[in-house]
């Protein structure tokens, strides 16, 4: 237990902050503390959570994937087109994942083979992928996605109200956690992000590791795209604009270092949860949604300042104890 605390100090801290936030919202409006609202929070966090865990893989290697919002749109359009055309829904789902993986692979190619800076490379594909989405659809949404596909994600467990897509998100987080903490790939991801040159000299296949990170980002994004498509029943080229910023925010609040080498799936989960609690809570206490932006911004700043200043803070406390 003590080990768990030492290892996940940051994650626990963010979780406690989330609980405090819940208490505040409950005091302001007791309606906050209901099973229904609890489910709403989890439903709210699904998309951002999936995108955040994906982008976290790239951030861990010292990179970034700005193209996720656009990958998200393309996957939606591709799968919508397939299902509307009468394809088997499971087949369409697999195609969606493959499309996400391929778009991630291309990012990986730019970053490792062409050695472009990840920020610039994915800034490029961000526009490129978005453009493809517009060109393919002509700006017209693809609608009437059949229920046979939508039910894969939208169904619920019995009458509990727990949607399948919430379970899907949890499974993705668990898989990410296992990969990062219990496999060689996880060790290599941290090694590359911590010191790429040292990892290379240690015989780590840094190229393959970076490819894995960008493909993981593409696949997680694809899952988010599928969930979106299932819940809306239609796909359009403008989907997901600006989603990458929220995903980065969730990862950062959860303790992912933008310099790479540091961060966990658990932290990103808690970061996404905090943002969802905030979003839902603001609605419940009837605060204008514009304020959400203000509060989210402040939380990002405070969370990263705390990370940066915690040693100073500890020294400050120690000084004033005497």
């Amino acid at each position: 237990m003590k080990n768990f605390y030492v290892k996940y100090k940051r994650e626990i801290l963010v979780f406690v902050a989330t609980l405090i936030l819940c208490v505040v919202f409950t005091v302001l409006n007791p309606q906050f503390l209901t099973w229904r609202n609890f489910l709403t929070i989890f439903q709210q966090m699904v998309l951002n959570g999936l995108l955040a865990v994906g982008i976290m893989f790239t951030i861990l290697t010292g990179g970034i994937d700005l193209s996720i919002g656009c990958t998200f749109a393309i996957v939606g359009i591709a799968v919508a087109t397939c299902t509307v055309g009468g394809m088997n829904p499971v087949m369409a789902l697999v195609i969606g994942l493959v499309v996400g993986a391929v778009l991630g692979l291309f990012n990986g190619f730019l970053v490792t083979n062409l050695k472009l800076q990840p920020f610039i490379a994915t800034l490029g594909t961000m526009s490129l992928y978005r453009g493809i989405a517009y060109v393919v659809t002509g700006g017209v949404p693809v609608t009437n996605v059949p229920d046979s596909f939508r039910n894969i994600f939208n169904g619920q467990i019995g009458e509990s109200g727990i949607r399948y897509y919430v379970i899907v998100m949890l499974v993705v987080f668990i898989v990410a956690h296992v990969i990062l903490s219990k496999t060689r790939t996880g060790d290599y991801l941290y090694a590359v992000g911590g010191n790429e040159e040292a990892a290379k000299l240690s015989g780590v296949n840094t190229r393959k590791t970076k490819y894995i990170a960008y493909i993981a980002s593409g696949v997680c994004t694809a899952v988010a795209g599928l969930v979106m498509l299932a819940s809306l029943g239609s796909a359009e080229a403008t989907a997901g604009i600006g989603y990458e910023t929220n995903a980065i925010a969730a990862a950062a609040i959860g303790g992912t270092s933008m310099a790479g080498g540091r961060g966990t799936a658990l932290g990103t989960f808690v970061g996404a949860l905090l943002l969802a609690v905030l979003k839902v809570g603001m609605v419940v206490i009837n605060v204008d949604s514009f304020w959400q932006y203000v509060v989210t911004g402040l939380i990002i700043i405070v969370a990263s300042y705390f990370e940066y200043a915690k040693d100073d803070f500890a020294a400050f406390l120690a000084r004033h104890k005497n």
Binding site: T183, Y188, Y190, L201, G203, V204, K208, G261, A315
Partner: protein, 503 residues
């Protein structure tokens, strides 16, 4: 003469460690005072306290008889007239020399920098220091030695009367070192007090008046350099007698078997080396001597797959290396390197000892096909903590917080955990203290007696001569000499090859 610096009962604690214990000694005005001790003895901590980097400590620091307590390094420079010349050269490459020297304190004309005054002032200082470059030169175009002078010029610009040097010769050639010593002599003549930290004892004898020795955070003694010997200094530093000189304690272990053969290796794009051919035998320690910048590291990087092979042939155990050679393939073919720049390319600063030791041999710590087993990594780390006597013996300790010698041992443990049998050591004892040096030499001998083959790149002549079975000498990207018999190892001849004058 009065006392320039006085330390009175300095104590410094970090969480869980007491790094300085009751340190008291003084430095006279106008002397060159050496601060000696092994890595981890507390020299850097003491300097950091003196220069205001660590504000929290017990005890008192007196400068010229007055107690001071600096809040930051800047505060120390501005209000204490005390500057530090760092081990790493810290400059902004794209700015001019003058801008670097005056950084943060540029002469102003209204809201703008007064560049004429800046360059005039700095040129005057550079002239004073006998520097052969100008204030308007861009720093990128200077050599390492010239960049080092910028830090000294900076100290003079701030009218410092106390300057400390933290291993200033670490990245300098011997010629640059001589120039630096001339400057130090001059500073001394001008009445500036100098605190000098170095692992090179011959430097201490060359320029220092007195020497204070620290060991495990405690004050041992202050000696008059003229009245002491190298052995006495080492004994005081280490607490026992250690040979500072590299030497062989076991006979040559080399066999006839060629484990590595390099033919005509050439860097066709960068021109860093040309037509490199040599052989490495099983059980051999092959030395690679040369001046800084001779292209040795660049050759080694190709051998271990860190850089692509452009032209020439490399055979490992008589099998040529594949076309798309990389470090992962090199590892599987049994060759790896301990890099020279330990701090930046040696290990992951965000990782623990256990992780850093395990990273190259993860396939050995598996539980089933997919999952790694932390307990096996731990067992492996603990095994090497004992075998290599790595201190502290804490698997969860961050490698970045270890001393240089122990970091080197962690990296060595990483390679020993793999199955590689050709190990390249690039400047293995750079920034490593005397005792750890001797241990690293002993480990190398142990490795060759186990049948491993070593290449040792060294810029320290005594080390190259003392360790090698055979010695390859490089100059400006070419091999200028290969000495196959230890009896031929003559320092004058080797230096002659190293400066390329073999005709």
């Amino acid at each position: 003469m009065g006392k320039a610096i006085e330390f009175v009962k300095i104590n410094k604690r970090f969480p869980g460690v007491h790094v300085l214990k009751d340190i008291s000694f003084s430095v006279e005005e106008g002397e060159v005072h050496a601060l000696l001790g092994e890595n981890g003895a507390g020299k850097s901590t003491l300097l950091n306290i003196l220069h205001g980097v660590y504000g929290e400590y017990e005890g008192a620091v007196l400068l010229h008889g007055k107690e001071v307590h600096f809040k930051s390094a800047n505060d120390a420079i501005k209000n204490g007239n005390i500057s530090k010349v760092h081990q790493e050269i810290m400059v902004v490459e794209e700015l001019s020399v003058g801008q670097n020297v005056t950084m943060g304190y540029e002469p102003k004309k209204g809201a703008f920098i007064d560049f004429n005054k800046m360059h005039n002032d700095v040129d005057a200082i550079l002239k004073e220091l006998n520097c052969n470059f100008k204030s308007r030169d861009i720093v990128r175009t200077l050599t390492a030695g010239q960049k080092q002078m910028i830090a000294i010029a900076k100290a003079i610009y701030h009218h410092s009367n106390i300057i400390s040097f933290d291993e200033p010769t670490a990245s300098l050639t011997s010629k640059e070192t001589e120039a630096l010593f001339a400057v130090i002599e001059k500073l001394k003549k001008d009445g500036i007090t100098i605190l000098y930290v170095s692992h090179h004892l011959e430097e201490i004898f060359q320029i220092c008046d007195r020497a204070t020795i620290l060991r495990d955070g405690e004050f041992v003694q202050t000696l008059n350099v003229k009245e002491t010997t190298e052995d006495e200094l080492i004994h005081a530093m280490v607490g026992r007698s250690v040979s500072a000189v590299a030497s062989r304690t076991i006979p040559c272990q080399a066999t006839k078997e060629v484990v590595l053969k390099v033919e005509g290796l050439t860097d066709t794009t960068g021109g860093k080396f040309k037509d490199i051919s040599f052989e490495l035998h099983r059980g051999e320690i092959l030395g690679f001597y040369g001046l800084v910048g001779a292209g040795r590291t660049e050759v080694m990087r190709v051998l271990v797959g860190a850089d692509p092979k452009l032209e020439g042939n490399i055979y490992l155990k008589n099998v040529p290396i594949p076309r798309n050679w990389n470090s992962t393939k090199a590892l599987s073919r049994g060759i790896g390197m301990l890099s020279e720049d330990r701090k930046n390319t040696g290990f992951n600063k965000l990782a623990t000892n256990m992780q850093n030791i395990a990273i190259s041999s993860l396939e050995k710590y598996m539980k089933g096909l997919f999952f790694t087993d932390e307990s096996k990594k731990l067992k492996n780390a603990e095994h090497y903590f004992e075998e290599l006597d790595i201190n502290p013996k804490l698997p969860a300790y961050m490698t970045v917080n270890m001393s240089g010698g122990n970091q080197q041992k962690v990296i060595l443990a990483k390679w020993m955990s793999t199955d590689i049998d050709i190990i390249i050591f690039d400047e293995p004892t750079k920034g490593v203290d005397v005792a750890a040096k001797a241990e690293i030499y002993r480990l190398m001998e142990e490795l060759v007696s186990q049948g491993k083959s070593l290449i040792v790149v060294s810029s320290e002549l005594p080390e190259a001569i003392g360790l090698s079975d055979r010695l390859v000498i490089m100059s400006e990207g070419r091999i200028t000499g290969i000495l196959t018999d230890r009896s031929e190892f003559d320092s004058d001849a080797i230096l002659n090859y190293a400066i390329g004058g073999n005709e």
